[in-house]
């Protein structure tokens, strides 16, 4: 994206005249206004859809006795089908409100889950049943491709994490096989990898960012938890194998030049493959020579900081504002956590909070300034 500085440069060089420069400025301002407005519509309609969806799920959860079961099912299933039709109509038939149409399709995917849970509630299917969440994923997954919906890709990723969490609670034998944080880490890497694969084909590229974002968040969350003293770190032999396979699969996609050229976030993808291979090494070493929890804490802090640095570098060089924001968020969280760990016992409480507050204020000023600088640079003057 070009900005005022480029227009001035072209004016100086004589590439364009003053009339052309003025036209460029006007068009650029118009383009930025249009883009901002589109983003606002998407944000408002998506948040609106999510709020209604949450409301519907809470309606089911309240198990309101004033309405009979049949009426409730007809009401909710009817709303699901009706809203889905409205979304389809607005996005494809009328094509007048495509963004609102997309939001309504997302809402119908949420209502599908709410309806399904209502039916499961009526028949008293055991609570916290992972299969129900799995059927929800199964029901809405085809919409990612049918309607080219990125928000539904995000929803499916979220439901996938929920499904593995419930499955982990249900199947106590999984406890012996894998640590929950390793399971989240592997899931995050897998979802991110699915995002990478989506980036390779033009037809499904729309879901790339959503999958990558959700994968990266789970991966960072699991690594962040690992930075605490979690007690004895036990690993079964299957865990390094899974990490190694995921790392090798990543490399198989990232290394061949024709595939690599199709990927926009190559540097970020490499950072994730490094994490997968590093985890394969750490878990393999743990099996044969386990270290103390302090050592793991230090090691994971270094890995987490290293990954954040790599991501920041990658985000900066690919001008990806989302990655920069994500990195800064987790960086602040890490500082906050370590501050609590190290100083909570050492300083008197009042001094602790005052000092902590000052440190956070200082960090926020530095980060905000840096973020603004980057944003200005990326968007060519737009703030």
């Amino acid at each position: 994206m070009f900005g005022e500085d480029l227009i001035l440069k072209w004016l100086d060089e004589g590439t364009i005249d003053h009339v052309q420069a003025e036209k460029m400025r006007e068009d650029l301002a118009e383009y930025n206004r249009e883009r901002r407005s589109k983003k606002q519509i998407i944000a408002f309609s998506t948040i609106g859809a999510i709020l209604i969806g949450i409301g519907a799920i809470l309606f089911v959860a309240s198990n309101w006795e004033k309405i009979g079961d049949t009426v409730k099912v007809l009401l909710l299933v009817g709303s699901t089908v009706g809203i889905h039709y409205a979304g389809y109509l607005l996005k494809y038939e009328k094509q007048k409100y495509p963004r609102l149409g997309s939001a309504l399709i997302l809402l119908s995917a949420l209502l599908f889950g709410a309806s399904f849970f209502l039916i499961a509630q009526i028949y008293n299917i055991n609570a916290n049943n992972s299969t129900l969440v799995f059927i929800w994923v199964l029901g809405v997954f085809p919409l990612i491709y049918g309607y080219r919906s990125a928000p539904i890709a995000g929803l499916c990723s979220l439901l996938f994490y929920l499904w593995i969490s419930l499955l982990y609670l249900e199947r106590t034998d999984l406890n012996k096989l894998i640590n929950i944080w390793d399971l989240y880490l592997i899931s995050g890497i897998s979802i991110y990898f699915i995002g990478v694969l989506h980036g390779l084909a033009e037809k499904i590229k729309h879901a790339e960012t959503a999958f990558k974002f959700m994968g990266l968040q789970a991966l960072l969350f699991a690594l962040f938890v690992h930075t605490f003293e979690l007690g004895e770190y036990q690993v079964e032999k299957i865990v390094p194998v899974i990490y190694a396979i995921s790392g090798i699969l990543f490399l198989a996609v990232l290394l061949p030049k024709p595939l690599r050229e199709k990927l926009t976030g190559f540097r970020i993808d490499v950072s994730i493959s490094i994490v997968a291979l590093l985890m394969a090494g750490i878990t393999l070493t743990t099996i044969y020579s386990p270290a103390s929890e302090k050592i793991y804490m230090i090691l994971f802090n270094i890995i987490f900081l290293g990954l954040l640095t790599l991501l920041l570098y990658a985000g900066y060089s690919t001008e990806n504002m989302g990655i920069v924001n994500t990195t800064m968020f987790w960086f602040v969280l890490l500082i906050f956590a370590r501050y609590f760990d190290f100083f909570w016992e050492l300083l008197p409480r009042s001094l602790f909070f005052m000092l902590g507050g000052l440190v956070l204020l200082f960090i926020s000023v530095v980060l905000e300034r840096k973020r603004r600088e980057l944003k200005v640079q990326f968007s060519g003057g737009e703030q």
């Binding site: 959860a61 198990n63 889905h84 389809y88 494809y92 599908f112 499961a120 008293n124 055991n126």
Partner: protein, 191 residues
């Protein structure tokens, strides 16, 4: 494939999931045998979470000395089939099978915990191979959903009622069970 086809396919797919699920459960409810199962109070702190009541049945814990098993070797998450005898409407456990019995009433469950028993000598050394003493089994009917705030009511009746809380379930010929109603002191309650 155009968007219109995708729209119709989605609606059909969703309705199939909804109706398939309803039919699966309705089949059990309409063709199965009604059985009353006795519940045992569990730790009150675990009795209900949120707006459902956790039901712990007498058949949730199977003492293999009382209820014999066709094959006494079990693993975690194994599928079992518990043959039931109807005594005054109540389902009484008869025998545990690894495969569906050829006839009679039985309920399908999953082993969730194995409790072992072993003998030790005076020095605390195990003298014989540990044997499975009890099975903790889940039948998929362990939750009963109640309207917001009504869980407390059932809980108090479970503790103060004379006969406690029983559950009327319907079991189909494949061993699938669906909760039909809750009985407090022998009377069906409308919740």
């Amino acid at each position: 494939m155009n968007q219109k086809k995708i729209f119709y396919l989605t609606i059909v797919f969703w309705l199939l999931i909804f109706s398939g699920f309803i039919l699966y459960k309705e089949y059990t409810l309409r063709t199965g045998t009604e059985v009353v199962l006795k519940t045992e109070p569990v730790d009150p702190r675990d009795l209900f979470r949120g707006d459902y009541v956790t039901l712990n049945y007498e058949i949730s814990t199977l003492d293999l000395e009382v209820v014999p098993a066709e094959d006494p070797h079990f693993n975690y998450n194994d599928r079992i089939y518990l043959a039931l005898a109807l005594e005054e409407g109540y389902g009484v456990p008869k025998k545990v099978y690894r495969n569906p019995p050829e006839d009679g009433l039985y309920i399908k469950g999953t082993v969730k915990e194995l409790i072992y028993d072993w003998e030790e000598d005076e020095d605390g050394i195990v003298t014989e191979e540990p044997q499975i003493k009890e099975l903790r089994v889940e039948y998929g009917i362990e939750s009963y959903f109640v309207p917001e705030g009504r869980g407390l009511e059932i809980e108090s009746q479970q503790w103060t009622g004379e006969e406690g809380v029983n559950v009327k379930v319907v079991v189909d010929k494949y061993g699938n069970a669906v909760i039909k109603s809750l009985l407090i002191d022998g009377k069906e309650v409308e919740i």
